[in-house]
Amino acid sequence: METNRLQNIWKNNETKIKLKTINELNQSLAARSRQTINNFLIFFAIDVFVCIGVIVFLIITALNRQGDILYQANNAVLSLVTLTSFVISLLSWIKLRNNKFNLPLKEWVEQRIRLLSKWLLGKYSKLYIVLIPILLVMINISIHVYYEYKPLIEVMKNEESVIGLIIGFIIGVFVSIFALNKIRKYQIKNLGNLKEIYARLCNDAI
């Protein structure tokens, strides 16, 4: 088969492509934009709902335990972490969605690799391993101490409470680390695929 025959076969079938009208194109754009806005609203609503719920709980419980400074400090730190997570999650979402595709393929792949590498392999990428157990201990304490109707120090002296907290902590750590590792594995696979494409693009000698 001659080389230019490939181009002829391709060209001959150009007329078979059913083109859309401007109105249909507009509808496609509107549908896709609406989908993005809806996704953002759902994500934003869940984020706000969870964060406000946690913060309201922490404030009410702290106000009900005005004499217990340790308990109040615990809740204040948790509130701060919740607020920070809320801002970081929103910013990350916006950054991810703002990724532009109008670059040459090699540059675009390079940009995606940089972004994903920073998240998955960067300086703070493993911070969650330290943060999750600490936060779980603090949340468990906040909930458990509140429903025990006793000061934090007294609750921590009770053997049953400590065992309950340890069991809650182990289950919490297991579930959250498992879920996060699943997400990380998926993203690491994505990163591997992008690196593979990049390597192929760089290899002039193939």
Partner: protein
């Protein structure tokens, strides 16, 4: 904003053939193509305000379409390989049409066997883009483009000859 959108839709209407062809090369069934078509339009609209050089609209559309398609391919864990060609617009010569359609189907099947980079290179080659333009769209060197085109052409020819003789 409305004027910008109208201008964008006008350009899109004139160049939409590129989107359909990129879709043909990367996706094998109509529903995947429609989803990807919408995604490409959305990504084009997002980056339209950054388009400075209106002389290179074609290259910009190719770049966004190829990047979006590759990104979408990577997200999909399973791709259904069910061949669906676009509907023909007329049947003025049924026999000739059938033969052309068969050639086109074989060509698409052969392209499907290439990796995602070679698919885009072959698409640009079939669209009669120069090596310079292909290098610019993909961000690789001209020599790399040349090597890849020759290799992909050989592969396509081999596959097509094998399939034709097999039939």
């Amino acid at each position: 904003m409305k004027a910008l959108k109208d201008e964008f839709l006008e350009i899109l209407s004139n160049y939409q053939g590129i989107l359909h062809k990129v879709n043909l090369v990367y996706f094998r069934n109509a529903s995947d193509r429609e989803d990807n078509f919408q995604e490409i339009i959305y990504q084009l609209w997002k980056s339209y305000p950054d388009l400075r050089n209106k002389d290179s609209i074609g290259s910009w559309i190719y770049a966004v379409s190829i990047n979006t398609s590759i990104s979408r391919l990577k997200k999909k864990t399973r791709i259904e390989y069910r061949e669906e060609l676009p509907e023909p617009v007329d049947t003025y010569d049924i026999e000739e049409e059938a033969s052309r359609e068969n050639d086109f189907r074989l060509l698409l099947q052969a392209i499907a066997g290439l990796n995602e980079i070679d698919k885009s290179i072959m698409l640009l080659y079939l669209e009669e883009k120069s090596y310079d333009e292909i290098a610019e769209i993909l961000g690789i060197s001209k020599s790399n483009v040349g090597v890849r085109i020759n290799r992909a052409k050989e592969l396509l020819k081999k596959t097509l000859n094998l399939t034709e003789h097999g039939n």
